[in-house]
Symmetry: C2
Subunit: 258 residues, 2 copies
């Protein structure tokens, strides 16, 4: 029996929601060992830099993902709802937006803004995972594309853990640096509420409910794989791929052999 | 010698701009006979309805086109600029947006809103042309996608002609009905200015300048083809395709034979 079989015969919207929440409990990256290390103060500054740098790539592609979804959507009501995500991340007019807040976090961690934006030092595995996410949203059904955003259901918990975790455990982390996460505490539940309501209403057969579950599993994989890559390269001594960011406090002996 | 050859060796941004403006002079749909009839009061109410109904389909796809462009764009600065188009057309929060204004124009012309939104009565040729535009923006280079928006350079002139033309020549046209066009008088030049500046800066070889010209020619064809379809079906007696809108004041004898 496949592990996925328990998602194949969901009989109602309520069973779907319960299944989605169970997926979050089991697969959301809050449980990843790298996050445990990050939130409990057991990373070096260089490792935190590597995390912020790689996460920048994810942030930078989120508006492209969301715009691609809007670009496929013939329903103006959904487009208007989804638009708030573009406004949140890219900002508009006076609002600098979430990506700018993330770039400031990177700078305050001691990274050069130009280097971050160049994307040169990002781990290839990060790019592969993130690009797979953007492609998923462009190519799968609208229902699956919307469902893949549902990790936001679980985001408030990770931010609630991260904000005090970072502030209390690292002397180089300031209140201004966690501004991005404080904003997300408000934004993510609003967005997740809309997406959850959408999939509950539109996934009206067991087949569609299964696709919704698979989309969320896929997205959990996307997030998890990014932390696996960081964990391997920067924590477990698996070696930093050629061309990727090397923290100043990193022992050179642990780099990949030539 | 191909008619396009004059666009192959543009040596500078200034030559490019002059070429683009020449294309507008020659190919923009302000010169289409259907628009001449529309603006000078020589259409029946049913023909004006057919125009508004078919133009709705174009309006409805513009945010998808623009979101698709944003979804391909790695430059946050451009995304933030382009976002204003989504806000203009779909609206956000309190702002109803341009599509809603267009739907009200349709209603005030006596069309049923549900029928318009169902897209059932739209001419197939309208859909083919509009869908080709959306596909162009999704599949061509970002430079060509941006260049294809440049018909907006010529939009103020058509709106300046259309607003008094509709108001003075048709007793069923009210000030509220031209609200869409009044808004576009402000929006289009702002957007066109950004796009023109972009192509002048980024089309830095004769090859790229040629692609920019071809993109604008393509877009002029997209607009022209929509009017050709209206003109053929509703004015010249070419016959209304099965399933498409039949105005109440249309002579049934002029429908396509079974």
């Amino acid at each position: 029996m496949s592990e996925l079989d328990r998602f194949r015969n969901l009989a109602s919207a309520e069973e779907l929601e319960a299944a989605l929440r169970a997926i979050g409990e089991e697969r959301y990256h809050i449980h990843h060992p790298f996050h445990r290390l990050l939130h409990t103060g057991r990373l070096t500054k260089g490792q935190v830099q590597a995390w912020a740098l790689n996460r920048y790539y994810y942030q930078s592609r989120i508006p492209m993902k969301d715009a691609s979804l809007i670009g496929r959507c013939e329903d103006r009501g959904i487009r208007r709802e989804w638009l708030v995500r573009l406004l949140d991340h890219d900002g508009f007019g006076e609002d600098e937006g979430g990506i700018e807040r993330w770039l400031r976090l990177c700078e305050q961690l001691g990274l050069d803004r130009g280097y971050v934006v160049s994307e040169e030092g990002i781990l290839p595995a990060t790019k592969f995972a993130v690009d797979a996410y953007v492609r998923f949203v462009r190519e799968k059904s609208l229902l699956e594309a919307i469902a893949s955003s549902l990790t936001e259901l679980f985001a408030p918990k990770i931010h609630e853990e991260r904000i005090p975790g970072l502030l209390s455990n690292y002397d180089f982390v300031t209140e201004e640096m966690v501004a991005y996460f404080r904003k997300r505490l408000v934004q993510a539940p609003r967005d997740a509420g809309f997406a959850l309501d959408y999939v509950k209403r539109h996934a009206d057969t067991p087949e569609k409910r299964f696709l919704v579950c698979k989309a969320l599993l896929f997205k959990c994989d996307v997030l998890w794989a990014q932390l696996d890559a960081l964990h391997h390269a920067y924590v477990l001594g698996g070696g930093i791929p050629k061309g990727a960011f090397v923290p100043a406090d990193f022992e050179t002996g642990r780099r990949t052999a030539a």
